[in-house]
């Protein structure tokens, strides 16, 4: 739709007058601003080591591996997080779950996350079908060697134990059961997320996500 004429504001260059040519009023106004800041000093500085910052709830810090209600690791070693990870910092070795864990096929024999490679994008958390990996509010992570920054399964579970009762790091899904993705019996049949009507342009698409008619067959196939 073209922009309506009434929505267009035509901006003219402001008139350049005598006082603008002498610079002085502009300099005086600027000086007033800076002097105001000096005299009415309201610093926004946080005295960091003494005063910790108040982070937003969605802050993405160090990872943790959640436990279920029996204290077992929730992860089912599906590799979705390692696949989603753009920094390629998650290494999982899957093993068949012990027979006394009937609710899953696999579990992570090793789960190593390189906190130095991680870019803290949170895509592992989004990818996880059973809500096993989550990012916490821990931001001040230090170590004396690179090896110490490779967090294995036990270390990540420790982070969970440390942070699970912190109000800033609630376990984001109901504790206990695995997430909905593990409930194979109730999974909905695979289908489009939204119904497409016949008259919609996308109904003619050659493939999902393309709008418009399928292009004429260029290769004569």
């Amino acid at each position: 739709m073209p922009i309506a004429h009434k929505d267009v504001t035509w901006v003219e260059e402001p008139e350049f007058g005598f006082w603008e040519a002498t610079f002085l009023p502009a300099i005086a106004a600027g000086l007033r601003t800076t002097i105001d800041h000096i005299t009415l000093n309201r610093p926004v500085t946080q005295q960091y080591p003494e005063v910790k910052p108040e982070l937003p709830l969605h802050y993405r810090g160090v990872h943790r591996l959640n436990r279920d209600e029996q204290g077992r690791v929730k992860c089912v070693a599906c590799m979705l997080c390692a696949t989603a990870c753009p920094a390629n910092c998650i290494a999982i070795e899957a093993a068949p779950a012990p027979p006394e864990w009937p609710d899953r096929d696999k579990f992570p024999a090793t789960f190593v996350l390189d906190e130095l490679r991680c870019i803290y994008c949170g895509m592992c958390e989004e990818a996880c079908p059973v809500d096993a990996i989550e990012l916490t509010h821990i931001y001040d992570l230090t170590a004396t060697s690179r090896e110490e920054m490779l967090f294995d399964r036990e270390k990540l579970l420790e982070v969970y134990d440390e942070t699970k009762n912190d109000p800033k790091d609630p376990v984001r899904t109901g504790r206990g059961r695995l997430g909905p993705a593990s409930e194979f019996g109730t999974l909905p049949a695979v289908g489009p997320a939204t119904a497409v009507e016949d008259k919609d342009r996308s109904a003619d698409a050659s493939s999902p996500g393309v709008i418009g008619k399928a292009p004429p067959d260029r290769y004569g196939v």
Binding site: H5, K6, V8, W10, E13, F16, G17, F18, W19, E20, A21, T22, I27, G30, L31, T33, T34, I35, H37, I38, N41, R42, P43, V44, T45
Partner: protein
């Protein structure tokens, strides 16, 4: 012999005071700029960060002194020394107290009775640009060289209005000797301060002095967005600090000059006059002078964080199209008034008149430029 000892003591005291003063001026500047930007500033080392300069100095002296492989080693090392040496040397003829009343072990000026004082200062401080040029050239780096080219163009351009604006004061005083210029203002009282007769020259001098010492808004030679670090891109540690110190000492010298040339030096009505005779009066006079200098420096810092940086062509335009013609006209007016023996207060009126004229001409030139500017025509349909 006693003369020599006197001189050495004076040099020692002056250098110590300037270098220590510069360190604390840097702290003051950091604090002021922090407050302007709603921050706190250095507050970790000592109470209110008062020991920060000491910590900085220790850090700088302990720093490694690397020099890149691709530089001209000799010039690379000499350049910062030239920069700091020339600016410190310029201070030799600046009286920093009531010259006649110094205690016996020192003087209030390192080199007294130099009749070409002002010329000496300008000659020496303009040598400082050699440090910048050589530093940029020896660094063998495009950014450094562009920075040093800019610096040389800028300093050479602003030398002219700087010298011309002082010429008026020198003509009025009839001497180039800073001690005598100061003494004349002190004897005449507050209404003999050159500021009242040469306000325009004072403004021009202040502006060109800021440009000379590469302070914002004229710090094009080290403009970070375009030139990384400018001429000192390749410098680090103590060598960078020498450049930095050179600029800061320049600021101090220029502030002394402004206080002495235009604001009566150590003179202040009632508390520090020629006739005042009470114990420790020389201390008060030094205090008066230093507070004037401090006020000028603080004002420079305020300006620094208030005005954004000029574009390079604007900078050159300001020097060649505005400041140089104005300072020339100012000198002509001073000569006319002196020649015909008119009342000196006419100079104040003439200065204001010149300033207004410059404003009118500036606005006309700008409007003409706006008229000539190619512009999109407004579509007829959009006029409603």
């Amino acid at each position: 012999m006693s003369e020599l000892i006197q001189t050495l003591v004076t040099i020692g005291i002056t250098m110590g005071a300037i270098l220590g003063g510069c360190m604390y001026l840097i702290l003051v500047e950091r604090k002021i700029s922090a407050r302007m930007q709603d921050r706190i500033g250095p507050n970790r080392v000592g109470p209110w960060g008062l020991l920060q300069p000491v910590a900085d100095a220790v850090k700088i002296f302990l720093k490694e002194d690397p020099s890149p492989a691709h530089v001209d080693k000799f010039l690379y090392r000499v350049a910062p020394m030239i920069s700091v040496f020339t600016t410190l040397l310029a201070f030799a003829v600046v009286p920093f107290g009531p010259v006649g009343q110094a205690p016996s072990f020192m003087r209030f000026i390192i080199a007294p009775h130099i009749d070409v004082g002002i010329v000496f200062i300008f000659a020496i401080t303009s040598l400082a640009v050699y440090g910048v040029i050589l530093g940029g050239w020896a660094s063998n780096n495009k950014y450094s060289m562009l920075g040093s080219l800019r610096a040389s163009a800028q300093v050479v351009s602003y030398e002219i209005p700087l010298g011309m604006s002082v010429l008026g004061v020198a003509l009025l005083a009839g001497t180039l000797n800073l001690e005598q210029i100061l003494a004349q203002q002190a004897e005449g009282g507050i209404w003999k301060w050159n500021f009242w007769y040469q306000p325009l020259a004072c403004l021009i001098f202040f502006t060109s002095a800021m440009a000379e010492s590469n302070r914002l808004p004229f710090d094009l030679p080290e403009c970070e967005q375009e030139l990384v670090g400018g001429y000192h891109t390749e410098y680090g540690g103590l060598r960078f600090v020498m450049f930095f110190l050179g600029e800061y000492v320049h600021v101090v010298t220029v502030s002394f000059l402004i206080s002495i040339l235009f604001f009566g030096g150590w003179y202040f009505p009632w508390i520090a006059t020629v006739d005042s005779a009470y114990p420790g009066e020389w201390l008060v006079k030094i205090g008066v002078l230093l507070s004037k200098v401090g006020a000028v420096i603080i004002f420079m810092m305020l300006i620094r964080w208030t005005i954004p940086r000029f574009r390079f062509d604007q900078l050159m335009g300001l020097a060649w199209k505005v400041l140089i013609p104005l300072s020339m006209a100012n000198v002509v007016i001073v000569m006319t008034v002196l020649q015909f023996g008119w009342n000196r207060w006419w100079l104040l009126a003439a200065s204001i008149g010149l300033f207004l004229m410059a404003g009118v001409m500036g606005v006309n030139a700008k409007r003409a430029e706006i008229r000539r500017r190619p512009r999109a025509s407004r579509p007829a349909a959009w006029t409603t």
